[in-house]
């Protein structure tokens, strides 16, 4: 496989995943900002901070939902906005049309310009349906990959890119929570903190799944455990790390060259494994999350190096 093809597949998967994750992040911000008293807490500001998009804010004072819609949904110059993620995913796909199935291409090509023509007012009014639309597009794409694509090297790069981006977004969602309110070590029975924690679960479509694993009580460390350490929840960091490990293993078997990536992945894996039973939380959630993010970034550049991107 051409290195450029691998790179395009890797990034295509990342951008699709990022579009969906950003949609989920906005959903979470929306829920948090609706809570009483949130005017003082700058939820939207923390959403911008964790996505690295503060620079796009064009006024002083706390960010508003309208800012978020402009910056994270529509802004064509922001590489993290949903609009540019969809455009870039399609551009990546277009460069490697022959490595895609017809259905994958159609999933990316269908109405890819919808956001281009969307005004700020319309997007603000129809925010929830638009975010749902983004998630549906991502699901369609994954469905097409799942049911039609050969389980070959291209598939490995898609899964690695998707896993990487998803792990990073789960980590970022936890960061928003950190910025909004420092976690309490108490059992959360109700009130603002409870809603914030459950907003994180909700944004990741994990509220029901959480109950199946931990029963009916929400505690910050169990929620953290679920999102970081759990091996069965597909949006947990550990799950994503396992997924990348499996596919990097297949690449290493066929092409070699992945020693450093796999070492980094091992480091990440060990860090997470040692963090069970609330240990991550005790060590400092913010520090743990930062450490994981740094390792995933390193991993991304090591993958590019190993396969000559």
């Amino acid at each position: 496989m051409l290195s450029r093809t691998a790179e395009n597949l890797f990034w295509m998967a990342r951008y699709i995943e990022r579009a969906e994750s950003t949609a989920r992040l906005i959903t979470m911000g929306q829920r948090m900002a609706l809570l009483p008293g949130s005017d003082f807490l700058d939820e939207w500001g923390s959403v911008l901070r964790v996505t690295g998009c503060e620079a796009f804010l064009d006024h002083s004072g706390p960010a508003t939902q309208a800012d978020i819609v402009r910056i994270l949904l529509l802004e064509p110059d922001n590489p993290s906005s949903i609009q540019s993620c969809l455009v870039r995913a399609r551009a990546n796909a277009k460069s490697v049309r022959t490595a895609l199935t017809q259905e994958m291409w159609e999933a990316l090509n269908l109405s890819w310009r919808r956001l281009e023509d969307c005004s700020l007012e319309d997007a603000g009014r129809d925010l929830s349906p638009l975010l749902d639309w983004v998630k549906t597009r991502a699901s369609m794409f994954r469905g097409a990959v799942d049911t039609g694509l050969l389980r070959n090297t291209g598939y490995d790069f898609i899964r690695i890119g998707g896993g990487l981006e998803r792990a990073q977004m789960t980590l970022r969602l936890l960061e928003v929570k950190y910025y909004v309110l420092l976690p309490e070590t108490e059992v959360v029975g109700g009130g603002r903190d409870h809603y914030q924690w459950t907003s994180v679960l909700h944004a990741l479509s994990g509220s029901r799944a959480y109950h199946h694993v931990y029963g009916g009580v929400h505690t910050p460390w169990q929620i953290t455990d679920f999102l970081m350490v759990n091996r069965t929840f597909p949006r947990s960091v550990t799950f994503c790390v396992d997924q990348m490990g499996w596919h990097l293993g297949l690449l290493a078997r066929d092409y070699g060259g992945a020693e450093r990536c796999r070492a980094t992945l091992g480091e990440l894996s060990d860090l997470l494994a040692a963090g069970g039973d609330g240990a991550l939380f005790q060590r400092g959630l913010h520090e743990s999350v930062q450490q994981c993010l740094a390792l995933t970034n390193r991993l991304a550049s090591e993958i590019a190096e190993a396969y000559h991107f």
Binding site: L2, R4, K94, R97, W105, Y307
Partner: protein, 469 residues
């Protein structure tokens, strides 16, 4: 009155159109229009688009597809087939000749300056024998019909003629939407084209190639207007679609960068112009090319399809001499005629052209795609005057031809089935033997009376049927 291909001189439906006519009547105009919208939706979803340079607007617009097929009878095709092969063979013989001894120039049939001072001529190619002595591996010949029995060649395309993906996709859409039309086996299939193309390119692998040749399609990238076609062909042949940055040259061989390291490439079907192939050999300011590619080619490490410099054979100033080439190299009479052409570089021709510009079609010799041409009968006096000044400024850069009565074909229009002018481009493959799929691309001018069929100027495309007996 232009020849209408649906009817014979008595106004009855010609036999080869019987099936199409039956189908039009059975489906009805409303039904056809409905299915036409459906076809467009399929094209857009698949992503067959065509960008137009220098026009701005939608870079991914569709070429309009007209549902009504254009039909050739078996007999008509037999003649076209022989004429096309003959022309492709003569053009390749001409290319070999001008890059070697130049016999045809010595014989006084073509003025040497027309060749040696031509921008498309590549002195770097002199004395080099490309594998199989093939220069133009895909020859696209634009043919117009001016009467029941007259087919004439409008121009030749020896570099990298585009549009073959439309030939394949148009048929694919038609068989998908109207399987009943094809169930009797009346229409010759065209879907063998990709396999034949691959076979032809493998046959011209360089002498040093051992085993099964590795063939790739080289594209400038997704922003190119024909990118869809590049990826489509690579896909159907099951070979890699590479960009220049994917290739590098080492020890006179070309390598592509893969995740497992470098892999040797034997044959490159390049869809990049000569100038941009290799900054070391051609344009030094090209950001596109592969440094050292031309050297590797001359050293026999790789084959380029088409050969650099193949464009000299399809230059509009050379075009007038193709019938001479056929007689000179093959000793045969040309089966397909040329259109009478005045060369503005010749004083007597120029005087005629300037006096009759209002009746003629004038073109730039190096232009393509319908750009920079003047259709006298439809141009304003001011436009004609401006064009005359352009000709005077650079006479050798222009030719002129009579305004032809291009045949019309049945086309779905607002008022039902209407007559529209059309041309035809078949694709002749040249490897160690010649191959020609029975079919090609029919382009149709969708505006009433218009003679410009180029997709860049609002033309559309049609499925083209060659009937079996």
């Amino acid at each position: 009155m232009a020849f209408y291909e649906l009817h014979d001189p008595q106004g009855a439906v010609r036999e080869c159109y019987a099936e199409v006519q039956r189908w039009i009547q059975a489906t009805g105009i409303a039904g056809l229009r409905h299915r036409s919208a459906e076809a467009e939706a399929i094209f857009r979803r698949i992503g067959i688009t065509f960008a137009v340079y220098g026009e701005g607007g939608d870079p991914e617009r569709l070429i309009p597809f007209d549902l009504l097929p254009r039909v050739f009878s078996r007999l008509e095709w037999q003649r076209l087939d022989r004429g096309i092969r003959q022309r492709a063979q003569a053009l390749n013989a001409f290319l070999f000749d001008v890059y070697h001894r130049g016999e045809i120039l010595r014989a006084g049939l073509i003025p040497p300056e027309l060749v040696y001072q031509n921008e498309a001529f590549r002195p770097e190619m002199l004395g080099f024998d490309p594998p199989g002595r093939v220069y133009s591996h895909i020859v696209g010949i634009d043919i117009v019909r001016t009467g029941p029995d007259t087919f004439e060649v409008l121009e030749d395309n020896c570099r990298t003629p585009s549009g073959v993906s439309y030939m394949l996709e148009n048929r694919e859409i038609m068989t998908r939407m109207f399987p009943e039309l094809f169930s009797h086996g009346l229409v010759t299939p065209v879907d063998t084209y990709p396999a034949q193309l691959l076979q032809s390119m493998k046959e011209v692998a360089p002498p040093g190639c051992k085993g099964d040749p590795v063939v790739v399609v080289l594209t400038p990238g997704p922003l190119n207007s024909a990118y869809y076609e590049h990826s489509f062909l690579a896909d159907l042949m099951g070979i890699e679609l590479v960009e220049p940055a994917d290739l590098f040259v080492d020890r006179d061989r070309v390598w592509m960068k893969t995740i497992a390291g470098p892999r040797a490439v034997d044959v490159i079907y390049r869809r990049i112009d000569d100038e941009y192939l290799d900054p070391l050999a051609f344009r030094p300011d090209s950001m596109l090319g592969v440094p050292g590619l031309f050297h590797a080619y001359r050293a026999g490490g790789v084959t380029l399809c088409s050969a650099p410099g193949a464009g000299i054979a399809d230059d509009k100033a050379i075009y007038v001499h193709v019938p001479d080439m056929i007689r000179f190299y093959l000793g045969e009479a040309p089966i397909l005629g040329n259109i009478p052409t005045w060369q503005c570089g010749k004083p007597e021709d120029r005087a005629y052209v300037l006096a009759h510009l209002g009746e003629l079609v004038a073109k730039e010799t190096h232009g393509s795609g319908g750009y920079g041409m003047l259709i006298g009968p439809r141009a304003s006096p001011a436009a004609i005057d401006a064009y005359a000044h352009r000709i005077l400024a650079d006479p050798g850069g222009f030719i002129a031809q009579p305004t032809l009565e291009l045949s019309t074909v049945p086309t779905l229009g607002a008022e039902g089935v209407v007559r529209r002018h059309a041309d035809f481009r078949p694709y002749c493959l040249v490897g160690s033997e010649m191959r020609l799929v029975a079919g090609g691309l029919t382009r149709v001018a969708l505006t009433e009376g218009s003679l410009v069929v180029n997709s860049s100027q609002g033309g559309g495309v049609k499925d083209t049927w060659v009937l079996r007996d």
